[in-house]
């Protein structure tokens, strides 16, 4: 792959990942945070493909963005949806 | 000289990308969740299928896998958009104020009452 394209794509992905991670930390709605976290994993798996590691990318895509998010959502459903100080429904 | 299948693949990918862009535009311009979902589902499904088939045409060893991906997308994409629309309605996301008719709300209420009894 063209070096310049690689650098541009990787930079874009890293910026997106950092932005999403900041949103995960700052979100008071935990379900929203879980879904954003799965977005971080999805972008991470794309970065792994860019770095020519398809094995890791497959594991990251299926574990990180599908299973982890759903297990977190199941766990949140058993407790409270909002963090302390967040809006109550 | 570029091979003919590469050109066809490129054209398919460009068509797919432009549909995706239109879908994204619809996501911004249309007024409420349901209208946005309409635009998003249709254009993103056709766009993704077009891109997959385009990649398959460019590299014929991937064509069968690309067709399989397209079939999978055709089954799963409408289902997920249906699930989002139903979930949105049932958790109380209102229709756009310019909507003319809503037959779903009363029917859903009736059904819920039936189930509770």
């Amino acid at each position: 792959m063209n070096e310049l394209v690689f650098i541009a794509l990787a930079t874009l992905m890293f910026i997106l990942m950092i932005a999403l991670a900041v949103m995960v930390i700052r979100s008071k709605d935990l379900i929203k945070a879980a879904i954003l976290l799965s977005g971080v994993s999805l972008i991470a798996s794309f970065v792994f493909v860019l770095l020519r590691a398809p094995d890791v990318a497959m594991a990251e895509a299926s574990i990180g963005s599908a299973l982890t998010a759903i297990i977190l959502v199941f766990a949140i459903k058993k407790t409270n949806r909002f963090e302390e100080g967040g809006e109550e429904k | 000289m570029i091979a003919i299948n590469v050109i066809i693949g490129m054209v398919l990918i460009i068509i797919g990308l432009s549909f995706q862009v239109l879908g994204a535009l619809g996501l911004i311009r249309l007024p409420d969740v349901y209208n946005r979902l309409q635009a998003a589902t249709k254009s993103i499904t056709l766009g993704a299928i077009s891109i997959a088939i385009g990649v398959g045409v460019m590299d014929p060893t991937l064509l069968t896998k690309a067709i399989l991906v397209a079939v999978f997308l055709l089954i799963t994409n409408p289902i997920s958009s249906h699930a989002i629309a139903r979930g949105a309605y049932r958790s109380g996301v209102p229709l756009w104020k310019g909507s003319v008719v809503d037959k779903y709300g009363p029917a859903l209420e009736r059904k819920e009452r039936e189930v509770k009894e």
Partner: protein, 164 residues
Amino acid sequence: MARSPLKIVLTVLVLMVAWMMLTLRTDIDGLVQEIIAGALIALALGIFLSGILPDAGEGNPVKRILMFFVFLLIFFKEMILANIDVAFRVLHPKMPIKPGIVEVKPGMKSDMGKMILANSITLTPGTLSMDYIDDSLFIHWISVEDDPEEAMKPLDKAVKEVFP
């Protein structure tokens, strides 16, 4: 959810075709190995999982498979029209939309037919299937027409031929 032998055979065949599409090879030795492995896996999955597949209705299988291709043709035509429709509505400066949720009664009885109809309605112009409540399908329509049942007729008929 009856497990008729025909259903198991069809499931195994479809899974086998999917397996061969995944593992397409050009050398004879490799192809033979893949076919044997695929046959075993498709047989096991078909026998264990054909029970959970949705009920597809009854009828002459040959005619239904032929009608399936007719349905695919209609469906792809509608899908491309749908995208042009979306493009028109999105790019039009005034956005000509008149949304609403309407109710139609599909003609088929089988669960598979209902599911396929709902899916193809979502991908055809201006419509998004919301939910089934007691055999009537609720559709979010981007510009509501006077008689929604009439507009659904061709697709409904095509699906009904395949999954009655």
